[in-house]
């Protein structure tokens, strides 16, 4: 009885049994991963944002000051309309409350738009993209990354003759586009980042800058308007009854002075700060700068005579028009979209804040992690033979911090997770597709290799160690193909259904 010949057909029978079992219920493994209710993307958004109305409204985490802003505006305007407008509309013209009403409407509309809309958040890199970027950076640096974080990565770009440095964001795993910045409060990269405004409870960026500007501009007009007409009201009343009498008579029958004085005080301070802010932002718009750039002095002449703003269109009018009337780009984060089972999930959360509560997204991460790891193995094996695989793979562990509930196939390929050899058959059964012969060979190949790979680091699975062997790269590509098979098929089904 030859072991090789005898075991071969026997093994064939074994595997064909498994294949029929799995092929009879092809949707079993994806079924395990699907939650009963499909989740929307905002529910697993990795930034520090709050969402309302099922994802339609997006704000920063701290919104206390925003409510204060609302209260101040509503109360001051309310007092004005209740106590000053009746008198003024009689005495002077009813146009006053009308104009006041329009201004108030405009202020509220722009405030809510600024606060509730997406400022231009850049979605985090998918695991594939992050891996590709890492690989490119490693090649560019010409060294293995080792166990420590490599020095800050920058790319230089020449825009309109000016050299601009693009920084790599470690949280979002992308090279930030020019003028983008990472908001530490919201933990997002925002395009054309201006500043984080606590008064509106949101970041101000590319998509809501014009709303913000219109808000502060209209608010300046409103506060000046209210201030002016409150003063007018007091003066007119005092002309009637005498100034001191007007103030004396107030509390009992004419609460207007108290309310007026309150309105006036609020207005007085607001006027200077809001008008000042409007003026500042008018300057920024006309020179096409962001608050961020202005504060850092990115384009000031003090840095050098050759330093100029490459984004400016040259004249004030065009700059203003571009900022205020230019096209409005759509939101890139698709908050209300549903999570597709095969959609790659975003790069891992920072600061230990875990947003991935759903097993679905965990398993999505797993699938994509398999994707990256296998792809990365293949690429790394091709590029740098006999490289220490553990440190480079450690970087791939970042997307999955401390996950213990990963399903079988994941665990078999995710490094750093202790995996019993019995998980290997899980891989074959869970893929649930045909093409059993390569699977069988992969299994055998792994079993063959495991005793061989004595010096493999702890926690390293057979799939990791074959990097160092050229012929096992072959088997590895099989492993990657088969483990990716399910993923890719689902991906294709989704893509072709578009």
């Amino acid at each position: 009885m030859t072991p090789g010949g005898g075991s071969g057909p026997m093994k064939d029978c074994e595997y064909s049994q498994i294949s029929t079992h799995s092929s009879s219920s092809p949707m079993e493994s994806p079924h395990k991963k699907k939650k009963s209710a499909p989740k929307r993307k905002w529910e697993v958004f990795p930034g520090r944002n709050k969402f309302f109305c099922n994802g339609r409204i997006m704000m920063a985490r701290q919104t206390g000051v925003f409510y204060l802003t609302l209260v101040l505006i509503l109360v001051t305007s309310g007092l004005f309309f209740a106590f000053d407008c009746p008198y003024l509309s009689e005495k002077i013209t009813p146009a006053i409350p009308a104009i006041g009403g329009i201004l108030f409407f405009f202020v509220m509309g722009t405030l809510l738009r600024t606060s509730f809309s997406d400022p231009g958040v850049l979605p985090r890199a998918t695991p594939d993209e992050a891996a590709d970027l890492e690989r490119q950076i490693d090649i560019a640096n010409g060294s293995s990354s080792g166990g420590y974080r490599p020095p800050p990565r920058t790319k230089e770009v020449i825009i309109n003759g000016q050299t601009v440095k693009l920084k790599y964001c470690f949280t979002c795993k992308i090279f930030r586009p020019p003028r983008a910045s990472h908001c530490s409060l919201c933990d997002n990269c925002v395009e054309r980042f201006d500043h984080h405004c606590p008064w509106v409870g949101n970041c101000v960026g590319k998509r809501n800058y014009r709303f913000f500007y219109m808000f502060i501009l209209s608010l300046s007009f409103l506060t000046v308007f209210i201030f002016a007409f409150v003063i007018t009201h007091v003066i007119l009343r005092s002309q009637q009854t005498g100034f001191l009498n007007a103030l004396k008579d107030s509390p009992a029958r004419y609460p207007f002075t108290e309310t007026n004085s309150r309105s006036s005080v609020v207005c007085f301070f607001s006027v200077w700060s809001i008008v000042g802010l409007s003026g500042f932002h008018t300057y920024l718009i006309s020179s096409n700068q962001t608050t961020n750039e202005d504060i850092k002095g990115s384009w000031s002449n003090k840095r050098g005579k050759e330093n100029y703003n490459p984004y400016s269109y040259g004249n004030i009018f065009t700059n203003c028009c571009a900022a205020l009337c230019g096209p409005l780009s759509p939101s890139l984060i698709d908050r209300r979209g549903f999570i597709q089972p095969d959609t790659p999930q975003l790069a891992g959360p920072s600061n230990g804040i875990t947003m991935y509560g759903a097993t679905q997204s965990q398993s999505n991460m797993c699938d994509q992690d398999q994707c990256i790891q296998s792809t990365k193995f293949v690429l790394q094996a091709a590029a740098t033979p006999l490289l220490q695989s553990e440190p480079s793979i450690t970087s791939e562990e970042l997307p999955l911090p401390g996950k213990t509930t990963i399903s079988g196939p994941c665990a078999s390929l995710t490094l750093g997770q202790p995996t019993p050899p019995s998980s290997m058959p899980n891989l074959t059964s869970d893929t649930g597709l045909t093409d059993m012969i390569p699977l069988k060979e992969e299994h055998e190949g792994h079993q063959f290799l495991t005793p061989e790979e004595a010096p493999s680091p702890p926690g390293m699975l057979p799939s990791g160690s074959p990097i160092t062997h050229s012929h096992t790269m072959h088997i590895l590509s099989l492993a990657s193909q088969d483990s990716l098979h399910e993923d890719s098929v689902r991906g294709l089904v989704k893509l072709s259904s578009v």
């Binding site: 738009r113 993209e129 992308i174 586009p177 020019p178 890139l332 099989l478 993923d487």
Partner: protein
Amino acid sequence: APQVHSLQELRRSASLATKVFVQRDYSDGTTCQFQTKFPPELESRIERQLFEETVKTLNGFYAEAEKIGGSSYLEGCLACATAYFIFLCMETHYEKVLKKISKYIQEQNEKIYAPRGLLLTDPLERGMRVIEISIYEDRCSSGSSSSGSSSSSSGGGGGG
């Protein structure tokens, strides 16, 4: 040998080998443009000229979406006059162009890329950062390679 696939055939018989990412070209500022540099991984899969034409057309679409001129000013002023409430019922010019882009990408996939075992992903799904091109390997070729490895490992497979 080039494999001829339709989108359905790809679904049945291909498996994902790798992905190539075409990065943004920022030399013109913050406008959305992609690099037309031909990725070396696609060397054997598609003609350079076809790829470049796809990217150039996409760049043209994005430039059209972000163009500042008469119509965009009109839209902006109208929106401002209505305190931006008009966005609740109207689709912006940018969104209209994005729909055109997604149709174009689907058409390119069906006609040019899927037959070559490639698949373009709409940059909008990747935050307008990259054009992701997925490269698929034909299972027929992977089957032949696996039979090659099976003969090598079955010799020692009994010891496992």
